[in-house]
Subunit: 127 residues, 2 copies
DNA sequence: GCTTGCCTTGACGTCGGCGGCAAGGTTTAG
DNA sequence: CTAAACCTTGCCGCCGACGTCAAGGCAAGC
């Protein structure tokens, strides 16, 4: 499998795959003419990367998952390093949700106050 | 008031103030020697900007609030454009919270599955 | 041979809110 | 006179996951 086919099957671009390789996440052999050659296992790797990216992981955080897959596990999640990253990310997301919730409450207050403050002088002048 | 003093009173840097001016948010007069000169009202403007940035607004979104303050209002929130931005931002934050919550739930599931899957073969082999 | 479509490396652009440095001019205190 | 502490403009760096050329080499069909 060459890079174009892998990109298509993974639903991404060739540029992205070269980038992953540059980051050390994706492995490629080389044909005689210099073309990258991938075996089928790399498709799973790319899908793992894409799935974790979609959830909000950085490429650095994804490395343990890829290593875990390469070690022969069915899932990239089962290795200790992966679990550690999962835990850390979960804590981060929890914290982020708390922050966003506080922001949301403040925005609501601010919006209500703005509307009230606006109606008061408006009505005092027009009514 | 010159830029250093304004920066100090607003709790930020001179670099930041020049940036805000470059973005058209902050207004400065000029002394004979070319130094920027600010009147006291600009301090409120800077604080408004900082407060909104802290809540997650982009500088572009903050412009209406600053204009509103400059129009003589006590709060930058009361003008229609500001209210519109507040509403939009509130919707964005709500959506972001929903997304993050979904991510959190997936992470929890993934983490649980990982731990269960790991214990099974581990125990099968060692126990 | 010629076109078309694949592939290669390399390097710059993106977005936002600044930080930091260079290379000066100004003012004030000692 | 000089050091120190202000100020000026201008430009590069940063982070992250790529997009987007540029300039070329290889393969396959007509």
């Amino acid at each position: 499998m060459r890079i174009g086919e892998l990109a298509q099957r993974a639903g991404t671009s060739t540029r992205t795959l070269r980038y992953y390789e540059h980051q050390g996440l994706l492995h490629a052999g080389r044909a005689a003419n210099g073309y990258r050659v991938y075996d089928d296992a790399e498709l799973r790797v790319v899908r793992e990367i894409r799935a974790l990216l979609a959830v909000g992981f950085a490429l650095d955080d994804i490395r343990p998952f890829v290593d875990c897959l390469r070690a022969g596990n069915e899932s990239g999640d089962v290795c200790p390093d992966s679990v550690a990253v999962l835990r850390r990310k979960l804590a981060e997301v929890d914290a982020a949700i708390d922050e966003m919730t506080a922001v949301r409450d403040q925005l609501r207050t601010q919006l209500n106050d703005a509307i009230n403050d606006r109606e008061t002088p408006c009505c005092a002048m027009t009514c």
